[in-house]
């Protein structure tokens, strides 16, 4: 066999700083997203102002503002990570907001310190009760996501329809069974979110960061993560390459359910209660928006966990900015919509250029 001619090494050009930026702009899909985020953060910092007695005070205010932003968005941020995987397979999940309330309600019933508390009734209290609750709620989330996944893969129901149906069912069932019912969550449970590290209440942010890191690894290095992209890129080719397409999809929806249940635990432990008719409404749209702003293609085959984190932050910082500017609440959604469209426009441009 003739040895193959060694491929000509690409000519390494010396690039000026500007040329380097241009190169990254058109070659790194996340670069433009990162630039947008940096601009937003600079704007936000300027808006916050420097009207403080000392640098220390300014830093304190700046950090507190950031911790607030991150903590408020940790739940939906986690959901957006799962949504990224779902969209990468070419699917969508509209049911996340309703899954949030049904798993949240389940958590509260398990924990309730009153007469109808399920675990309390069995005589389990304290830390064991909290541990069992976490495990059961996550299992419930996986089960619900798995059911949606089976409907989509075995039942051949389009993801949009399957999750639209699940969205209505989950919320309606939750609302029916929680009518006129007040639950009290044990204070130990609240520690899950309110435990302070060095005087900072950042537990939800840590959960978000850990999950993002794990999913980043999954998407880049694991068989499951790469098969997700293969399925979204060309389902038929993936199947003919030995990928069990149905298994991949099923696992993606189950993972989505798990992540939503984690978001539910965070929300319940943060507030101590949940408004079952309003919590999680519009969450699916926020999650989709974050994924799309972060460079995920709605048709599947392309998506970035890191991009979704950036996307979530962009939307969060923008909300914060609008708040600081005093923009009326009803107008804020319009800005969110605008930023989603602009983000996709910019990505299209850099792909063509």
């Amino acid at each position: 066999m003739i040895p193959s001619p060694s491929p000509t090494p690409p000519v390494k050009q010396k690039r000026t700083f500007i040329e380097g930026l241009k190169h990254r702009w058109s070659n790194d899909p996340l670069f433009s997203v990162l630039i947008a985020l940096i601009i937003m953060v600079i704007l936000q910092t300027l808006t916050l102002g420097f009207d403080y007695g000392s640098f220390g005070e300014w830093l304190q205010a700046w950090t507190n503002n950031w911790i607030n932003i991150l903590r408020n968005n940790a739940g939906v941020g986690i959901v957006a990570l799962g949504m990224t995987f779902v969209i990468m397979t070419g699917g969508i999940d509209l049911s996340v907001g309703s899954t949030l309330v049904i798993t949240g309600a389940f958590a509260m019933y398990l924990l309730d310190t009153g007469a109808s508390g399920i675990l309390g009734g069995l005589g389990i209290t304290g830390v064991p009760a909290i541990m069992i609750t976490i495990v059961l709620v996550m299992a419930f989330g996986i089960l619900l996501g798995g059911l949606i996944g089976v409907t989509i893969t075995k039942g051949l129901v389009p993801p949009f329809i399957a999750t639209l149906g699940a969205m209505m069912i989950f919320r309606s069932v939750t609302q029916h069974f929680t009518q006129g019912y007040n639950t009290t969550v044990p204070t130990e449970f609240l520690q899950l979110s309110s435990f302070k590290i060095g005087n900072l209440m950042i537990m939800p942010i840590i959960y978000w960061a850990i999950i993002a890191a794990i999913l980043y690894y999954v998407s880049k290095r694991t068989v499951f993560g790469r098969q997700i992209i293969a399925v979204g890129s060309n389902e038929r080719a993936a199947k003919l390459s030995g990928v069990n397409v149905n298994k991949v999809k099923l696992r993606v929806y189950a993972l989505m359910g798990l992540l939503v249940s984690i978001a539910a635990i965070i929300q319940v432990s943060r507030i101590g209660s949940m408004d079952f008719s309003n919590a999680g409404r519009g969450m699916e749209m926020d999650a989709i928006a974050a994924a799309v702003v972060g460079g995920t293609h709605m048709l599947g085959g392309r998506g970035f966990i890191l991009g979704t984190v950036y996307g979530m932050l962009i939307i969060a910082v923008m909300n914060n900015l609008l708040n600081l500017f005093g923009v009326p609440p009803f107008l804020r959604e319009a800005f969110k919509g605008l930023i989603v469209i602009v983000a996709v426009l910019l990505q299209r441009k850099s792909e063509q250029g």
């Binding site: 491929p7 003919l240 030995g242």
Partner: protein, 507 residues
């Protein structure tokens, strides 16, 4: 009505598709237009149908020169082109389909359904079609869809109808129905140009024939004066253009049996398939479009369900329900239509080359990149894949190199049976030769049993030890040695043997 095409020349870039072709067709005649794939049939008809423009030459209608710059101009002149993919909307009733794009309207601008319905009834009566115009097109079988298209052409006063392989996807009774329709058209003095590969159909229905080969009209005449054997030899030419790459080995000297298939059936695509395959053997499977060979081998690969029959791998019955199980068992399948079935456009060259083996080498779910790099490096050198960076997108490669990358992902699975479906599709000449060399090397040196599915008889003759010829989902015959020539293959692929049987039955 008489149509003459004179000295038609057409090239696409440096590819001379039509080199001075002249032919003439009268109204009331059914003319067969024959030729192998790539002979220039479709190009010639697309010129007549106004789909593409000729480089030079003339088209005359009743002696007057005409120029068609678009399909609608050609249609206005009375020439209707019925394509293989029918132009009907499944979710509308027949009578609305009849007026698609030129709907009848009432004075107020609404659709005049009543008049459209009546007109359809009239034309159906004229053409002896017994069909309720209110039926949905979705519910019609393929032959009635053809008939609806023909009636639509008649309603627009077509005097010449071009039919591009109309019988490919039809059953025998459906073919009869279309033939009856063609006879009716003939009675109405409409000319028909019938593009087909099926010579027995040509013998049955056509009056005249034209044979194109490599852009030249090599033969024409009356069908009553030729035999199918003669037609087949006109189509392929007498000269064998390239030498066979076949080895000296006789098919019987091959290694142990690797794959045995018994009674395999999936009523829709293939029936009662039997064959065996030995280690180190190269088996060709050929036939015309719609012969069911891709479906058959996809079923063996576990990508389609099987209704009945058994598959034995190394003497043990195989029951793979998924493609991954088939891969683990040692079967590899390189699909046809690379772009639709094999290329993951969002992934890199390296990932496209390793997707099949990710689960095999993974450690706790994490892909073993260094192992895959090592395998891919070997494959890249062996297959001589030309590329710059492994991380470049697969779409940055030429067709031939893309195909080699796809092949490399299958060789990485260390297959015992390698099924190659149209392996040289969309590949340039140089890469084609490379792929032939690779196929022979795999069989010779690694003792892999290779199956080459191909619609090009040349390809099968050049690389295969023996070949199965399929026709309408059954194996029509097996050829080897001196019998493995283009005439014999074409004869079988057009249902040749079947015709002889019928004749015996009739006499």
């Amino acid at each position: 009505m008489k149509i003459e095409m004179q000295h038609i020349v057409k090239s696409f870039g440096s590819n001379h598709v039509l080199k001075d072709v002249s032919l003439s067709i009268q109204g009331g005649e059914i003319c067969a237009l024959l030729g192998e794939n790539g002979a220039g049939k479709s190009t010639l008809m697309n010129i007549l149908g106004g789909v593409i423009q000729k480089d030079s030459g003339q088209i005359l209608m009743d002696g007057q020169e005409v120029i068609f710059e678009s399909p609608s101009e050609s249609l206005d002149a009375g020439i209707a082109f019925i394509h293989q993919e029918l132009n009907l909307v499944n979710d509308l009733p027949i009578y609305e389909n009849m007026f698609l794009g030129r709907e009848l309207k009432t004075k107020r601008g609404n659709l005049d359904l009543k008049r459209m319905y009546q007109k359809t009834v009239e034309i159906f009566e004229k053409m002896n079609v017994d069909l309720d115009p209110r039926r949905m097109v979705r519910d019609l079988d393929a032959s009635y869809k053809q008939i609806v298209e023909i009636c639509r052409a008649m309603m627009m006063n077509a005097s010449m109808i071009i039919m591009d392989e109309p019988t490919t996807s039809l059953t025998d009774t459906e073919i009869e129905r279309v033939f009856q329709m063609m006879e009716t058209l003939k009675e109405h003095h409409v000319g028909i140009i019938f593009i087909s590969h099926k010579l027995n159909e040509v013998m049955k229905i056509c009056d005249k024939y034209f044979v194109l080969r490599d852009g030249i009209l090599v033969s024409e005449g009356k069908v009553s004066e030729v035999t199918t054997k003669e037609l087949a030899s006109y189509m392929v030419g007498f000269d064998v253009r390239t030498e066979s790459l076949r080895r000296e080995k006789e098919p019987d000297d091959m290694g142990e049996e690797v794959l045995r298939v018994e009674n395999l059936t999936d009523a829709e695509h293939f029936r009662d398939i039997h064959f065996t395959l030995h280690a180190g053997e190269i088996l060709g499977v050929t036939g015309l479009l719609g012969d069911g060979r891709s479906e058959l081998f996809q079923a063996i690969f576990g990508a389609r369900p099987i209704q009945s029959g058994k598959i034995y791998l190394h003497g043990k019955e195989m029951n793979s329900k998924s493609t991954y199980e088939a891969i683990k068992a040692g079967i590899a399948y390189l699909p046809r239509n690379r772009k639709e079935n094999a290329i993951l456009k969002d992934m890199s060259i390296f990932e496209n080359a390793s997707i099949t083996t990710w689960p095999m080498f993974a450690k706790r779910g994490t892909i073993d990149t260094s192992k895959h790099q090592q395998i891919f490096k070997e494959q890249r050198d062996k297959l001589q894949i030309k590329m710059r960076e492994w991380t470049d997108s697969i779409t940055s490669l030429s067709g031939g190199n893309q195909q080699k990358v796809v092949l490399s992902k299958w060789l990485a699975t260390n297959p015992r049976v390698l099924i190659l479906d149209n392996p040289t599709q969309g590949v340039d000449v140089g890469a084609k030769e490379d792929i032939y060399d690779i196929i022979i090397q795999l069989a010779e040196e690694e003792n892999i049993a290779v199956i080459v599915l191909s619609s090009e008889a040349q390809e099968v003759i050049r690389v295969c030890d023996r070949a199965l010829v399929m026709y309408h989902g059954v194996i029509q015959g097996e050829v080897r040695g001196n019998d493995m020539n283009e005439n014999m293959i074409m004869h079988l692929a057009t249902g040749g043997e079947l015709k002889i049987k019928r004749r015996e039955y009739q006499s």
